[in-house]
């Protein structure tokens, strides 16, 4: 339904994205701050024109600089939930939701009746007559969602929908939001820099870094096969790059070789290793067909009930072990160590 090629310049950033959102799909744009995600959302809503490209929704061209086509924001069937919600401060929650209906020509009593229905559906029928400043962040978000959906848009855009919440409310509201999003049938496109939000809420992830898409796919696939260091870091796996030097052997860019369990897909490969899969030894381990290499400990960092050990050397990586193991192995920064990982735990895929 949404098909967009967006090119825009924002300061030093050159944004160049191709986006597709299908009927009923929840797509998350995930990326670091300043990657151009919000700009993309604003362009789709018509809050800023694109410099080049084409935005099309349900076959209707919304923005196409080449033919000087630009449908103004107010005429696009698109709902927008802003990061700071932007509830009109001088209108009650009810009148905020009724606003879009009134604009479309509904009589006041009718608009209010419908708005009441929307507020009740989102569980905020109680504070309907309150001004936005008296609402909690969670309530404000639900009112903002009700307001955006009351106009029955075809596409719903959400900009960092959970960023305004504190950690406590976040978990609860995220679950609620997932339920509310599921009830909406059109396309949904959300922007977030939080991988948890993206993984919980979206059917498909679009990773945006520096104005470009670096990876796209279902959350599970992105998590299993991260293509960029940014994504690898987000989901906490080690990502290494190399080339095939045998049917099941990868020569890393650092020169080290790793054996994998399955045949390699092509000459250029990325390798993902979970930190929990890396075992550490005082002496070189014997036996079983596994990858072993000598390394130096660069850093130790406690993380809840585990310790994250950063190791340097031919296979730079992070291993996760128990505090007991740290004591037993007498690990400290600068210690020499042997590391090992089973071939089945080395996931190799095309770059």
């Amino acid at each position: 339904m949404l098909s967009a090629t967006i090119e825009a310049h924002v300061g030093d950033l050159h944004l160049e994205l191709e986006l597709q959102v299908d009927e009923g799909e929840v797509v998350a744009l995930l990326g670091p701050n300043g990657a151009g995600k919000t700009t993309a959302l604003r362009a789709i809503a018509g809050l800023r024109p694109i410099d080049a490209g084409r935005i099309e929704l349900d076959g209707v061209v919304l923005d196409h600089p080449l033919t000087a086509t630009f449908i103004p924001t107010s005429q696009r069937p698109i709902g927008f939930v802003f990061q700071d919600y932007r509830l009109f401060p001088h209108l009650s929650a009810l009148d905020n939701v009724a606003f879009g209906l009134r604009v479309r020509g509904a009589a006041k009593p009718d608009a209010r009746r419908q708005a009441t229905g929307w507020l009740e559906r989102f569980g905020v029928g109680g504070p309907a007559n309150d001004l936005p400043r008296t609402l909690s962040a969670g309530q404000a978000q639900r009112v903002a969602l009700a307001r955006a959906l009351a106009t029955e848009p075809r596409l719903l855009l959400l900009d960092e929908p959970l960023a305004a919440l504190d950690a406590g409310a976040r978990l609860r509201v995220r679950t609620e939001l997932r339920r509310h999003l599921a009830a909406f049938q059109g396309g949904r496109l959300l922007v977030t820099h939080d991988p948890v939000d993206a993984f919980v809420l979206a059917d498909r992830l679009v990773i945006v870094e520096g104005g470009r898409i670096t990876q796209t796919g279902p959350p599970a696939v992105v998590a299993a096969r991260p293509r960029s260091r940014y994504v690898a870091q987000l989901i906490g796996v080690n990502l290494l790059y190399g080339t095939a030097s045998g049917e099941r052997t990868v020569r890393l860019d650092t020169g080290a070789e790793l054996t994998v369990a399955d045949p390699l897909p092509g000459p250029e490969v990325a390798v993902a290793i979970r930190p929990q899969a890396i075992a550490l030894y005082r002496r070189r381990p014997e036996g079983s067909p596994r990858n072993t290499w000598s390394a130096t400990i660069e850093d130790l960092e406690a993380d809840r009930d585990r310790v994250r050990v950063t190791i340097g050397g031919a296979v730079p990586a992070t291993a996760e072990i128990t505090p007991a193991a740290v004591t037993e192995l007498d690990l400290a920064a600068g210690s020499p160590i042997w590391a090992a990982v089973k071939a089945v735990d080395v996931s190799a895929y095309g770059r």
Binding site: A45, G46, L47, P72, T73, S74, Q75, I78, G79, F80, F82, D84, R86, F88, P89, H90, F99, G100, V103, R104, R147, A148, T151
Partner: protein
Amino acid sequence: MTRPAGYGRAPGLIVPLAVVALAYVAVPFAALLQRAPWSDLGDLLGRPVVTDALRLSVITAFAATGISMLVGMPLAWVLARTSFPGRSAARALVLLPMILPPVVGGTALVLAFGQRGLLGAPVYASTGFLLPYSPWGVVAANTFVAMPFLVLTVEAGLRAADQRYEDAAATLGAGRWTILRRITLPQLAPSILAGSVLCWARALGEFGATVTFAGNLVGRTQTLPLAVSLTVESDRDAAIALSLVLIALSLAVLVPLRDRWFTA
């Protein structure tokens, strides 16, 4: 023993100098009140020359405020929301009457709209209409001097107003007029109120431009400030009574406004 905390204590000379400043403003008012002909006040204020001046002042001040709102608010919008070459020059021009001696403004008005003025002459030749020495001349002089207060205040309000709400309204289907009417104007209401009140008060007290452009005709162009200046030599009691009216009107404006404007 309690003493103000370190920063609360004013150093040396500050307090006496502040008292001098306050006294300097207070003493003339005290003198005015002390000399006021309280027993004759009702009689003095009932005189036609006073009631005529009061009526003319209030009506022309409202008219000037109305005209200022009608054209000044759009001007404020253009200055705040658009960019065009010469915008800063335009803003400086709009604010000039605030700083200019009003008598200079009055002279300029004569040269523009007088019987032989740049625009006044052709209008007079074709219609016989003359702005100077008419109540409309008073309104024109008031507007010239007072409009900048409204433009400045509303422009500042527009700059402070959050345009993100306008974006939000657009995503809900609101066109430009709807956004202006239902989102921008309500946000702007305090600025518009403050600007209009300042504009009205300035128009009420206007003297120099009015006397230069519209003259001092009793019952026709003689406003309260003009009446005060005319009676201060001939009829001291009447001048004081008129001054009291002006002070009362000014206070009535100042008191509700002080929180919005002076502490903002």
